[in-house]
């Protein structure tokens, strides 16, 4: 297959795939141990003719083998999972070059987005379908975490640092954004949405909003101020 696998390019697809893989992995381990324990509990219950355990005598060599072999089995599984986790991590951290950048300032209790051309929105991020979006995030007060469950991604925003996350909206539709880091009294009400529009519709809206900004450049800081107090 010459074509790159889709899950390597899209974190949300990669997440679902790795989640499935890890769940299969841990279910096998868990069921094996649970069945073994349950079987021992049943088989070695105390009976009138069995009042004492009959523990196997472990030679020192067997004791070492019983340690070293499980260590290698567990480590093999750990490194297998680590490799897969790292691969998906790279997908999450490598933002595609062809992308839309949006600045996000979070605050108690709103998400304030600023587009490259100066257009600002609050609690609603409009993006075109088919183009990866990267958010450069900071916070003006407490910690917040911009969580988009549908795109399987979140990252904290905080004062004094810029963090980022990206996602790849493919089809027009709406997606919930909700705060995942305890930020204060109204934490649970701090939510917004991502509206994915058909590309042409987005361009029309984006141009129209930009046009509104053009005639009064001096109004920009003022607009920012009202948003803060809102």
């Amino acid at each position: 297959m010459a074509e790159p696998k889709a899950y390597l390019a899209d974190p949300a697809l990669g997440w679902d795939r790795l989640w499935h893989e890890v769940i299969v992995d841990i279910t096998i381990i868990g069921v094996l141990f649970a069945l073994l324990a349950a079987w021992f509990i049943w088989k070695y219950r105390r009976r009138p003719d069995r009042q004492q355990g009959e523990p196997p005598k472990l030679t020192p060599a067997a004791g070492v083998a019983w340690t070293v072999i499980p260590v290698f089995v567990f480590m093999a599984d750990d490194f297998f999972l680590a490799a897969n986790g790292w691969q998906l991590w790279n997908t999450y951290r490598d933002v595609p070059a062809e992308r839309m950048e949006v600045q996000l300032e979070s605050g108690m209790y709103s998400w304030d987005y600023t587009y490259a051309n100066g257009v600002k929105t609050q609690n609603e991020l409009r993006v075109p379908a088919g183009k990866p979006v990267v958010l450069r995030m900071t916070s003006r007060d407490t910690l917040h975490s911009h969580f988009i469950p549908d795109f399987r991604v979140k990252e904290d925003s905080m004062p004094g640092r810029v963090t980022y996350l990206w996602f790849h909206p493919k089809k027009p539709g709406e997606h919930l954004v909700t705060c995942a880091e305890y930020c204060g009294v109204m934490h649970s009400y701090m939510s917004g949405r991502i509206v994915v529009l058909p590309p042409q519709e987005f361009e029309d809206w984006y141009a129209a909003e930009a046009a509104k900004l053009q005639p009064v450049p001096a109004a920009k800081p003022a607009a920012k101020k009202t948003k803060k107090s809102a």
Binding site: D25, G30, R50, P55, D78, W89, D156, P159, T178, S191
Partner: protein, 541 residues
Amino acid sequence: MNLKEWIFTTDHKRVGVLYLIGSIAAFGVAGVMAMLMRLELSQLGPTLTANPTQYNIWLYAHGAVMILGFQIPALTGFFANYCIPLMIGAKDVAFPRVNALSVWLFYVGIILAILTFFIPDPPDVMWTGYPPYSILTTGNTALYTFTVLILGFASIIGGVNFLTTVVYMRAPGLTWNKLNIFVWCTLAAFVLQLIFVPVLGTAVTLISFDKYLGTHFFDPARGGDVLTYQNLFWFYSHPAVYVIFLPFFGVVYEIVATFARNRVFNYAMVVYGGIFGIVALSGVVWVHHLYVSGMADWIRIGQMVTTLLISVPVGLMVIGLVGTLYKGAISFETPMMYALGVIFLFLIGGLTGIPLALPSLTLHLSDTYYVVGHFHYVMAVAGTFAIFGGVYYWFPKITGRMYSEFWGKAGFWLTFVGVNIVFWIMMDVGVKGMPRRYYDYAQFPQFEHAHQIMTFGAGIIGIGFAVAVINWIVGAMRGKPAGDNPWGSMSLEWTTVSPPPHGNWPTPPSVSEEWHPYGYGDGRVSSDEAILHTPDVPRVS
């Protein structure tokens, strides 16, 4: 019974019982907080209170009191105090008065924690107390700081005491390879406390400095950094998970070995692989709590590997436990029911932690109900089951009386069913996106039904634990005399009378070369006979 004798006691067993009473009271208070939260969440919108701050205070109190007021004091306070001197054949701890001081400090800490419900503007900072919110809030962050400092100090002086006791006061003949697994586990936990508690103390002190004295450790506008706090906090608080895990797993080992009447499987593997391995790794995995906090990529990947490797020593300890069942002669009294319950709950809890070791999967799972479900299974529920099983196990030794087996098992099954209802569903809604620490969930109306079932399950858990505590109180007052060694255990604490007198044994015991706390299967039936093999040890009557 004289109250003054109890308050001014220096007897390690009475100090232990004081720890038990205080921590069970704390468990009750924190449990009521959990019930209030579950009732609040049983419907969309305001249910019990229209004030989110009220909910946040319950949540703060539930977390802080369960961890700092119940689990750590019950395990490193009650079990360590009561069992360690008896298990090593000592007449008391090395510094009995320091021991009394630590239990007094513990009560001061508990009283501070309870003050949360009586002061105006109580702390609403969660048990993690992250700045900037903990500095900006009108809630009383100082109360949080001082609660942590007092309980931490109590724990540190307890640690010094027990390390000295085990190193210097073991009975003649009781070599390091004859220590009970519980003693090893608790020693390891105290080593972790001594290393890491000061870091937590520093972290919570610095937030109060920032809030009340005008410093700027966590204020980026003046050169501080908010992430520093999270690093300091988790540098302690992840090892704190092992401070809870190690002793509770030790308790489970004691119960399983006794009721299976079997040798602990591969003792050296459990001690030198499992316990030592956990201590070695515990200080280099804290960043998995900060996977979505904006830490540098290289440290997130590095600690992904160390976090996954924790499964190696923990896996060895699980193998040791399941192996102890192999070819045993298992009976199913209440303590064993709780201990076997821990095996299954811990399997679920431990394995559901593996997705959370991967930073990539955590970008979705972090701060959701999945995390809450996971850590309740692995630490809160498994730990509490071990504590309850342990109290049942040593109940005949502590009181000299027997509890009701029927009500013991009834309480076990109620809680076992209840916790699986609550925390399994909790993980499921978490994967679907439900974030934690939410007073209301208007964005997620589809989860209302699941929340109702969880509230119902929480009610069952509450009834189950209440049945157990009432069973203890009734048993302590009216139970049948239990005898000195009702379970037929080989371990040293069962060789003295129940309840043991001040000084534990009329003459200090010593142990023979063949004796081992888990020396079952050599044709000997109980520890009394085992100890008879040493001619110079007088039999306790």
